[in-house]
Every structure is written in structure tokens, then in C-alpha cells.
Amino acid sequence: MKTWRRRAMLRLASDKAKPLSKVDRFFLPAVAVSSLATALLAAFYKQFESVLKPAQATTRQQPIADVIAYRVPKAPISDPDSPVWGTIKEYRINLADQTITRPLKTTVPKQPITVKAVYDDEWIAFLLIFPSDKPSKQAIKVNEFRDACAVLLARHPAKPEVRFMGTADNPATILHWKADWQADVEEGFQDIEKAFPNVAADFYPPLKGAVADGKPPKTVDIMSGAVRWLAGLNAGNPISEPVKKSPVEKIVGKGPGTIATTPTQDAVGWGRWLDGHWRVVLAKKLRASDSNVGEISLEPGNVYAAAFTVWFGGERDRGGRKNPSMLQTLLLQ
């Protein structure tokens, strides 16, 4: 047997023979028991910490925001090409499918969209940049659908379902930009002749006599009596209004299928399509003008829930056929 091994065995034998002291006999088990109890208590506390100490409102917590809106002297509320946007940090946000309520959209865009946000004393403005190989700016023919995008704003913290048009207890304020509305503002109402250049008609009641040269009058020129034959317009539906003032509609939603145009339409914005991308600005006033119907007011220093959605007209997107983002946190820095 080797020397080192023999020595070790001798030492072990001598230890065994030596009786334990009183301190060793009581102190060591006590240390072991108290360590175990401490560990158990720590685990127990961790388990119930969330119950004992609920999360505080994030307006006080100041979490790390997904998107920060930066304060600027004057927000470019209708200019997607303003140099102000060049100085603002951009956020890349992935769009998801829509699989909550049918009809679904199960395809997902390959590229994320770019989002920037700024605010001043009166307005908050968002710049959304998303790809669109060919802009769809018309919704006149039955199978034509427009490009569109939207920003959803709601109180924070928000349940996940707020992402889909808000909930009854946390209504969503939605800014909805429509490419065809912008064409109506930019070039005048996109009448039936835009889609059907050779359209001819003999008569539209109650216009007197035949229509000159078979060419129908412009919708915006139709006399008030004839508006009865434009049922949507007669009912006051904003979709049917030929004289558009802004390409952005301000909407409040309290769940899927509930969105309603707010009484005060003061949201603004503008889009520019260039090189396969839309650059769209959507802006609203910080102070809600329709708080009685659930519009949100925004205050600097606070955090809000936000989501961004794109409708690709070329893919026949409309209504629930859309690509929304997940719910993000928005901080007005």
C-alpha cells in the first residue's frame, strides 16, 4: 500500500475513535435546522410576494417603455418628411396575424414596421413606415381595398384583449388613416369616373332633365334633394361623406365590432408612398375632445398601452382582416 494512503487511513481511524464534543452535538443540528427554515421561508415569501405586494400603477413605476414619444417644440402632425422625424429614435415593431375573431388573417408580414413618436404642448404624432409594393389608394370597385394603418391607445396597464379594439372598461382610442380618404382630400372626391372612366347615365333623380352628354354630375355637386339616393350619406355615415377634411378618422372602440366614429373629428395626418413604402403620420390632440365617449387624454411623463395595425389593400385586407402588433407600452418622455 502506498505511503500516503496508509497515513490517511490511520488519521480516519483516530477521528472515529475521538468522541464528539457537547458543542458539536447540539450546535451543528441547530445550524442545519435554522438554515432549512430560512430557505423555506424565503421560498414561501417569493411565492406569495405578488399577492402581498401587487404591482403599482405604472405611471408611478416608470417601466422600460417599448416606444418613447419624445418632446419636440412643434410636432410635425401632417408631414411624414419633416426633418424632425430624422432626429427621433425609431422602433421596429413586428406585426402579428389576427386569429381572435373571424374572419381571420393568418399570414404575417415578413418585415417589421418602423414607429416613431413625438409630442408638443398640444399634439402627439406617430410616424409609421410600412412596406407596400404597390399603393392601393382606391376603394370604388367592389373588389378594391385600400391600404390603411392605425394607432391604438388605451390606459396602462391593459389586459391583452385591449389590443383588439379595447374593452368596455378600457376603451381604445384609434387613429385610422385610409389611403382612399387621403386621395379624396388630395385630389378631390374619387368619384365613380375614377374607376369607370366611360360611365354614362341618362338620369339621376331628382335632377331635372337628362344628364348632359351622359356624363353624371360630380357627387359633391349633387343637390341636397338627391342625397336621398345616397343612403349612407343621408344617414350620416362618415365613410360615405364625399367631402373629406382629414385622411385620419378618430374612433373609439370597446371590443371587436364596436368601433364608432367620435363626434369631434380633430385627428390629422398624412401619408406619402415612395419606393415601396408608406410613411404615414397620424396625430391627435393630447387633451381628449370626446372624453365623454371614451377618448383617452395623454399626459407627459405617463405610460400608456399602444398597438399598431396595418391593412394591406393588395391582400384584400379590411375590418378584421389585418395585421396588428402586440400591445406595446408608450411613454411620453
Binding site: V142, D180, A226, G232, P256
Partner: protein, 384 residues
Amino acid sequence: MPKVYNWQIGREMDYWYEAARPRRQAGAVFDTNKCIACQTCTVACKTTWTSGKGQEYMYWNNVETKPWGSYPMGWDVNILNMLGPQRWTKNGDKYVYQGKTLFEATPANERVLGYLPSDIEYAYPNRGEDETNQPLTNEKFYLKLPHDVWFFYLPRICNHCTYPACLAACSRMAIYKRPEDGIVLVDQLRCRGYRECVQACPYKKVFYNHVTRISEKCVLCYPAVERGIWPRCMRTCIGKIRMFGYVNTPENADPENPLDFLIHVKKVALPLLPQLGLEPNIYYIPPVHVGNVNFLRMLFGPGVDQAIQTYRKAMAGRDTELVAALVLNVSADRIMTKFKVVGGSEVAGYDENGHEVVRVPLKEPTVVRPFFDEKLQTFRHNIT
């Protein structure tokens, strides 16, 4: 999806909402044997409701020639192709549909199986008009008609279905079925122009307005119906092919109600494409002269053979009551909920208060005038 009972297919089926039948259901019977495709109904509707800008292509009422006519183009064959096999079996004296309805054949990401026509498909409302089921054969000096050449006219409006596909497809809930009369309407304030209804309606009777950019459809002239008056397309029918009123379910059928009598008692009036599962409320008396009964079975379901037999019997003068119900067609413009044969030679129609609305002879008297008019000293020709 909830289960609802559809008596036209003899079984329960899936539907987007729970069953909620209206207190009474407005409906009509069209006798295709009498339709001459004069399009008076089409014009009456057009001038009343769809002469505005953006409605130029809309025909809430149209009359198409079958088998080749269709508006929008191919609406029927397109949806039948998408639906797949449509088999019926007979269970006692009742037919049960074994295939899938539009709601049962719906893809997982949609609400209702359907398709969106293009503007080109709406461009030719008269395509196929007066075209026969076979081409004429070219002889040396003339065109020869094949022996069994046939076609017939199919007037179509919104069916104001019991289970409307347009209503099921609208995620905005902008389409509603009135509980008081079952008329299906598009809320012009709520609609946002998604066109899910245009896509879902298999009969393609919801239309997109190019100018207001929202959907519109037949309103069954509800302002008139509310006052007990027939819709415009029905009361202007010069061929007197139409009977308007209220339809009950088979178990509640009233034999004195002209519509129930034609649909449930005599079973001569059949729904259009019942296999789609919408329980449409416009019923058709099938044309008796069509050579291909399979074509009619496809359009009106398996009850066609019996309906043709019953109708022929009446035309041969062997069913006075049925003739009585048929001669009431467009005899007045007031809604009749009862009818009665009076004295074996006349039929009377009554409104819901029991007031007599109209009384017409079962057989129009024929007067033959002498060829030479002695009084005026002139010859006359009799015309019909």
C-alpha cells in the same frame, strides 16, 4: 357554432347565431311558368330605390334566363362548385339534405363560404337572355331547333333568408333581421364597407355602392309593407306571377293563408337552392316544360317532381283550390293573409283584419264578338 333547425333541408345545421325566428316572416311565391321577362319588376325597383349615383350597376330585382343567364355572371354555378357534393335522401315523405351547407363548409378562417365577384361579373346583367339550353343546328338552308330546347325566366330579389349569410358574415353586426316581419336590412350608419356580406351572400343580392362605399340591398319596400301594401316589384308584375304575404313554418302552416297553401299544403312552391342552408323566403313554382328535371332539382331541391305534377293537375282543371290561390297573384296590392273559394267560381282574398281585399273569377269570361259588326257596319278581329 350553435345548431339551428332548417325545415327546407329537413335537419339541424350550424349557424353563426342561435335561432331567432321573427314574429312573422315576409315572403313571396313566384310562378316561373308565367314570367315573360318583361323586366317591369326590375324597372319598378330600379326607379324606386337604385337610381342614385353609385347604384348604376345594382339590380335588387333582376330577371335572368336559365340555364345560361346569371347576374352577377355565374353566381349560381360558382357557389355550387365551391360547395361540393349536394346529396339528398328520402326519409318517409321528407327529404333530408346530406351535403354541407355554406355554414358547414366554411373554411376555418372565414365566417361563411363565399366569394367576391369582380366588377366585370356585374357588367352584363342581360347576358344569356333568351338563350336556350342547346345551340341551334345548322342545316343547309335554315337553322334547326333541337327537339327539347327549353329555357325559362327566373326573377330574383333578396330572399330575406331565415338564416342570412350576409348577417352572419358581418363582423360589425351592421345587418339585422327585423323581428316584426323578418326583412333583412343593412344599417346604413353602422356599415363600414368591408363587403363581407357581398362575399357571403350566395345569391349575390347585397351590393357595394361605388359612391357611398358601403353595402346596400333590397329592403322589400318595408315602408309599404308596414302599411299592408305589396313591394313595388310585386305589385307592378304584369305577368301576374307573384304572390306576397307572410310564410309560416310547416308545423304552423295555415291552409287558408295563400302562401302557406302553395308552399306547405300543395308543395308547388319551392325555395331557390335550399341546399345552401339559408332557408330563403322567396319560393318558386318550377317551370313545367323544362326537359332536364335534374337542372330543376339542382335549383329548387328534390321536391320539383311532385310540384310539377301538382301544378299540371291544377292546369288541367282538376284542383280548383290551387287554381284559386294562383289567380289571386297580383290581383290586388294589399297583403292578403287568407283566401277562400266562393261559390265554386270565384276566389276572395282577405287582409289580416278579415276585410275582403279582392274577389276575382276562377276563370275569366270569354266574349267572342261577331266578325261583322252590324251596328257600325264594319268587320272586327278578335284579339286576346
